[in-house]
């Protein structure tokens, strides 16, 4: 199937079958598999209550570390008036309608949307159920519902002191009509939302019981090791089947057009079989592709005008007439996701149907694509979603599931396909390489009067969801550039789509905001330096109409000791990120060694994400985003040579380790504005804060990521 076709699938409602998946290990009550219980009272798709009063929440978003299995239950529990620590949480089945993310239009966890999308719907879901339970109690007591209230999973009639638990009311409540509209609490009435709450998923994650897709165990299950063509678009030519099958435990060699899988009784046997099979490849049309060629193509493409994303005034004229002109080119590399849980998928395909055990950010699309590959009907394809061992955008794709289904089509019984770390790094779908040209004209006071920015790179949106394209502009690729918060006079932003040969690109933490924030914040910092002004003061002067942005910048600066002198070789850099409906500012403090080694020792982060649901999760996501962003900014880079990805494992695709992680201080701003996203902007903000800190320490401006050893020449 062509990926661009996914939105054409009709999303008729179907609930995945109620297969019980308790096989193998005891499952704690906190996180349950899809539809493991039935209950008499289910007024909407998000909650069920049984006769014992046990409350189950069905999560429209999947947990991948971002804390959504705590903050979303808090939203329901706030209105339902139950103890959120006692509810059971279930993965939703595949259903693009019932479990649609209203900000995206399909069932999707991504784009830091979970709280923004579900803040209203989940509170309504809880309130609706509460109203029905209160009505049921009032009818039984023959009193007015307004004389009753709900608290701690029970309805109370205050004047008579009568009390009934929800479990005793579910049968009566289930017979009542579901109210169409219910009043919701005002933020000032929240008892739970806004208070730091322990995560609901921790217990299983500290004793080995939490189940990720890779932990699926089924009777008779086989294990497959996979090798895909090392160059993109290459073909399998030959395998030594006899040698592979000579390995103890190997039962089968599965040949695909561009891949081979060895099926065995355990993964080790499968890996040994794969080594023995020594697959031979026809390298195909991309055998000569190198990063240098791709960058050259991007550089040339960016010399021509692109599709216009924004035009206010005559930027070219304003720049030409300005007192000074500043130009820069920024480059950001291909990046792998390197989730700790490597890509994997378990499939049991029979004539009657297909069961898929996987962790995915897109259950509905995954179901649809499996229908397409197998020819099965919707109700025959059951997606059993799992906790994700990291997402970061990688699991917004279904390539791993398609690959596993292709293998399962040749295997009797269930088969688990696990990608080696090398496959995972070398056959990722990468964050695009971006090439940005940017210019500004400054007046005699150093203030911008004109701004021109051209972005060249692969379009994820054009492939993933072409309907989102706007007249040739990829709205993700120009994010945080066509809508950055600074007052810079006349402005022109355009976009040139340039696809790298054979390389598939996709979402990566922070998406367009990460690309745009690095470029715009770096360039603002350059303008401040050109104008010989303090980077904080310079920003504040261009943000006069943006009090939330100013407030977080000031707060982060204040906590960091901004302006206090530092020893030679140290520096502070500041950056602002206004993506995902949130306002974040960070100050990074770096120490640059005589050998050019860059050590970010401290990061101060100020966050205004509107109404806070779980403040501790916001802190955790800032810590997480900062470390993820520093990994990429310092070391992250996928390069190609002779058509192959040069990196293969954590030895050459470096990520931060505990001894390299900075101290992180997070300050939260209280706000009654609409809630904003928090999973990604921490990553977006830290990259330019880091490179500006390196500039402050060394006078070396990093315009091309990763930093690598670029600071070396400056010392």
């Amino acid at each position: 199937m062509k990926r661009r076709d996914f939105l054409k699938f009709s999303a008729t409602s179907a609930i995945g079958g109620g297969l019980l998946l308790g096989f193998g290990l005891p499952v704690r009550a906190e996180i349950r598999d899809t539809l493991t219980t039935n209950a008499p009272f289910a007024p909407n798709a998000f909650l069920r209550i049984d006769r014992a009063g046990k409350v189950t929440f069905v999560m429209p978003m999947i947990e991948m570390g971002q804390g959504t299995y705590t903050s979303l239950p808090m939203l329901i529990a706030e209105e339902l008036e139950v103890d959120v620590a006692k509810v059971a949480v279930e993965h939703a089945p595949a259903d693009d309608k019932v479990y649609v993310n209203p900000l995206v239009g399909i069932q999707m966890t991504g784009g830091s949307t979970a709280v923004r999308a579900m803040y209203g719907p989940l509170r309504s879901a809880g309130a609706t159920a509460r109203v029905m339970l209160v009505s049921a109690a009032a009818q039984r007591w023959k009193v007015d519902a307004s004389a009753c209230r709900a608290e701690q999973g029970a309805v109370v009639h205050a004047s008579s002191g009568r009390k009934l638990g929800y479990g005793a009311l579910v049968d009566a409540a289930a017979k009542l009509p579901v109210p169409e509209k219910v009043a919701l609490k005002a933020p000032g009435e929240f008892k739970l939302v806004g208070t730091p709450h322990r995560r609901l998923d921790t217990a299983g994650k500290i004793n080995g019981r939490a189940k990720f897709g890779i932990d699926t165990r089924l009777p008779g299950m086989k294990f497959a090791a996979l090798a895909q063509s090392p160059s993109f678009g290459g073909k399998l030519v030959a395998v030594d089947e006899a040698k592979a099958k000579a390995v103890r435990g190997v039962s089968q060699v599965v040949r695909l057009d561009d891949a081979v899988a060895i099926v065995a009784s355990n993964t080790w046997a499968a890996k040994q079989g794969l080594a023995a099979a020594a697959p031979q490849w026809d390298a195909g049309p991309n055998a000569k592709v190198s990063t240098a060629d791709i960058v050259e193509q991007l550089a040339r493409a960016s010399e021509k005008p692109g599709a216009v994303a924004r035009q206010d005034g005559d930027a070219a004229k304003a720049i030409a007439g300005a007192a000074r002109k500043v130009d820069a080119v920024y480059e950001q590399p291909f990046l792998a996701h390197a989730t700790m849980e490597p890509m994997n998928c378990t499939v049991h395909l029979t004539k009657e149907g297909c069961d898929i055990w996987v962790g995915t950010q897109i259950p509905g699309i995954t179901q649809a694509v499996v229908m397409k590959v197998t020819g099965l009907q919707r109700e025959q394809v059951r997606i059993h979603n799992h906790l994700l061992g990291g997402g970061f955008g990688r699991r917004l794709e279904f390539d791993g599931t398609v690959r596993a289904v292709q293998i399962a089509q040749q295997v009797r019984g269930p088969v688990q396909v696990i990608w080696s770390r090398e496959e995972d790094i070398q056959h990722d779908m990468y964050r695009p390489y971006y090439y940005d040209r940017i210019s500004a004209g400054l007046n005699t006071q150093g203030r911008p009067v004109g701004w021109s920015h051209r972005i060249a790179g692969s379009s994820i949106v054009a492939r993933y969801s072409p309907a989102w394209m706007k007249g040739g502009v990829d709205p993700d690729a120009v994010e945080s550039s066509e809508n950055h918060p600074y007052d810079v006079g006349a402005i022109h932003v355009d976009y040139v789509r340039q696809e790298p040969p054979g390389i598939q690109t996709t979402w990566w933490r922070g998406v367009g905001v990460t690309r745009g924030t690095f470029v715009v914040e770096s360039f603002i910092d350059e303008l401040a330096a050109n104008a010989r002004q303090d980077p904080l003061a310079y920003r504040l002067a261009l943000l006069e109409k943006n009090p939330r942005a100013r407030a977080v910048l000031r707060l982060a600066a204040e906590r960091s000791g901004w302006g206090k002198p530092l020893p030679a070789g140290q520096g502070r850099g500041i950056a602002l990120c206004t993506g995902f409906g949130s306002f974040i500012a960070q100050v990074v403090h770096v120490s640059v060694g005589k050998d050019g080694g860059v050590n970010p020792t401290h990061v101060w982060c100020a966050v205004d994400c509107g109404i806070q649901v779980n403040p501790d999760t916001i802190r955790a996501q800032m810590e997480s985003g900062i470390i993820f962003g520093l990994s990429a900014a310092l070391h992250g880079e996928i390069t190609l040579k002779d058509g192959r990805v040069e990196q293969s494992n954590f030895g050459d695709y470096r990520v931060l380790r505990i001894n390299e992680a900075p101290r992180i201080d997070v300050a939260l701003v209280k706000s009654l504005e609409a809630p904003g996203g928090i999973g990604e902007p921490g990553t977006s903000c830290v990259m330019p804060a880091l490179t500006s800190a390196i500039f402050a320490a060394t006078d070396k401006r990093i315009r091309k990521l990763p930093v690598g050893d670029q600071a070396k020449v400056a010392t």
Partner: protein, 151 residues
């Protein structure tokens, strides 16, 4: 058949002697708490204890565990250090996606069993082999200190 002792239980396991303990635990014994991350001792997700010492099970063949005690995440809570580590992890809400945390906890428990009051440098050297992509490092450090009573 090889004879192993896993979490205090003697087991006869039908695998070749060069099979890494990781796949023996996960695929043969269905003990999936120990995680596969890299297959090359680079990330620490597969950390288990052999006679109390932390090892990377992805590169440790079963032959090296014969006659020795294997301890995994499923049973680390039964050791004094493991119990303290798990309690601190819960209290500080360390895990995010959680996938690397079995390995983190096994490394931290081995550290505390050997060194009751680790310094920051001790924590760095004991934990630097365990990667976390969610960036839980600040909380891991704080939780180890809490478990050690040095916070």
């Amino acid at each position: 058949m090889v004879k192993l002792s896993v979490n205090g239980k003697p087991l006869d396991v039908d695998v070749a002697e060069d099979t890494p303990l990781l796949w023996t635990l996960r695929d043969v014994l269905n003990m999936t708490g120990t995680k596969f991350g890299c297959g090359a001792a680079l990330c620490g997700a597969c950390t288990i204890h052999i006679d109390g010492q932390p090892v990377r099970s992805c590169v440790t063949p079963v032959s090296l565990a014969l006659g020795k005690r294997i301890t995994t995440i499923e049973a680390i809570g039964a050791t004094p250090a493991g119990k303290k580590v798990q309690a601190a992890w819960r209290e500080l809400d360390v895990p995010q996606c959680g996938y690397c945390q079995s390995g983190q906890i096994m490394s931290a428990a081995a550290l505390l069993a050997a060194n009751a009051k680790p310094s920051d440098a001790d924590i760095d050297s004991a934990m630097a082999g365990n990667i976390c992509r969610c960036g839980t490092y600040p909380r891991i450090r704080a939780a180890i200190k809490k478990a050690a009573g040095v916070a």
